[in-house]
């Protein structure tokens, strides 16, 4: 390549502000930037808001695509949901505050951006991320930076434009592909410099906070995920399992089964898509939720499940309600049960 030929970079685009700014800073230096985004199965994206009715007024946009559109760059979305299992279940560097394996996750994503078939097809010269030293307690602390560069295999082809001035010069800087003087030295949790830079570039309506890219950083989601692994007795999951953790009221009266109760029409509609794979309960005599039962309940468990669901239906104060139980093999049965009273539902059942 001649020294003046246009260099190519791949930027990790999470959908948050920092990665968008990092890509823009590098584009401003005449580099041909392509975006890459990863689907782990735990991503907080449009579908989550699309499911629940109460989010109807919010735009159902995919933030990574939105960022790419603002930047005017192509965005490649890579489905890593399969490979990601090993990262989330066995993180070499451990978890963050909840079940978020951020350090291992970053290493994997930078590796995919720099060494996957997609990267090989495009011949990128370097990788860009929106990391800022000290912004996150574990994955973005100073000592983590060289670990990510080393273990991802990207080495000094990994450039963090927002905090580059706090780090040793990388290959793109040393080679003069990018001008170090036009990079930044942001650090810590203060978001003001990013907001200022966003203003400078004319970005508005960007997604905040920067750390909201996945459900694993959510305390409640992580608790449901931990419950799933514990009750199954094995560290494994399917994509449907983790998608279903994003929807409904989850209740586990015993280790044998868990109820997933739709909380509104949007969730009921979403759960309908799974009705053929799960034992499910539907109200007949009153309005009420669609409920999936995950696990291997016995007959008493099913009756208990029905009485719980009745509590969340319009028939909660009725003497009895009628419900239809449908098994995955399509067998059906109509059953009448007495709704549980609020005091008969212990807090511990709520996952």
């Amino acid at each position: 390549m001649t020294p003046n030929a246009k260099r190519k970079a791949v930027a990790l685009i999470s959908g948050g502000l920092d990665s968008m700014l990092a890509a823009k800073v590098i584009m401003e230096q005449g580099i041909d930037v392509h975006g890459v985004n990863f689907f782990t199965g735990f991503c907080v994206e449009g579908h989550t808001s699309a499911i629940r009715e109460r989010h109807k007024i919010k735009p159902k946009r995919n933030n990574a695509l939105w960022c790419a559109e603002q930047l005017g760059i192509p965005l490649h979305i890579i489905d890593i949901s399969n490979e990601y299992k090993d990262i989330v279940l066995n993180p070499k560097h451990g978890y963050g505050q909840h079940l978020n394996p951020c350090l291992d996750c970053k290493i994997f994503m930078v590796n995919q951006a720099s060494a996957s078939a997609y990267a090989a097809d495009h011949g990128f010269d370097f990788v860009v991320t929106g990391e800022v030293i000290g912004q996150r307690p574990k994955s973005q602390r100073r000592e983590a930076m060289p670990v990510i560069a080393r273990e991802s295999g990207a080495g000094d082809r990994l450039l963090r434009p927002l905090c580059a001035l706090n780090l040793e010069p990388t290959l793109p800087e040393r080679e003069g592909w990018v001008d170090r003087a036009r990079l930044f030295g942001f650090h810590g949790r203060d978001r003001k410099p990013q907001i200022e830079l966003a203003k400078h570039f004319g970005f508005e309506d960007f997604a905040q906070p920067a750390g909201g890219c996945c459900f694993l950083t959510d305390k409640y989601y992580s608790a449901k995920f931990a419950d799933l692994l514990r009750a199954r007795g094995k560290r494994d999951y399917e994509l449907d399992d983790i998608m279903l953790l994003k929807v409904g009221r989850h209740m586990r009266p015993t280790d044998r089964f868990k109820l997933i109760i739709g909380r509104d029409q949007g969730e009921n509609k979403y759960l309908l898509g799974y009705q053929k794979r799960f034992l499910n309960l539907r109200m007949v005599s009153h309005e009420g939720p669609l409920t999936l039962i995950d696990g291997a309940p016995n007959d008493q468990d099913i009756e208990l499940a029905m009485r719980i669901v009745a509590r969340y239906s319009q028939g909660r104060n009725a003497d009895q309600v009628e419900m239809k139980v449908t098994w995955p093999d399509r067998q059906e049965r109509l059953v009448r049960v007495v709704p549980l009273t609020p005091t008969e539902i212990p807090d511990e059942w709520h996952v």
Binding site: F39, A50, R61, A64, I73
Partner: protein, 79 residues
């Protein structure tokens, strides 16, 4: 005239961004001018697929909701 072909993509039951990923995989095997008809059940596609098309230079021809399903027809661009 080159042989423009028509392809259907069934993304029913899939949540965004998976329909977009499927569209991306299919688009890689197609050539400019080819038509794709995508059908999905996640309303998110009405936002995400057109956004993805704009980012990659594909043209959305029609998009509509019909019987709780979302139908989007787009033409592969030259990008």
């Amino acid at each position: 005239m080159n042989g423009m072909s028509k392809h259907s993509l069934d993304a029913r039951g899939l949540l965004c961004p998976i329909p977009v990923i499927r569209a991306q995989e299919l688009a890689r095997t197609l050539t400019a001018g080819d038509l794709v008809e995508l059908v999905a059940t996640d309303p998110g596609v009405m936002h995400d697929v057109p956004a993805w098309c704009r980012v990659h230079g594909h043209d959305v021809i029609t998009s509509k909701e019909q019987d709780d399903e979302y139908l989007i027809q787009f033409k592969i661009g030259t990008g």
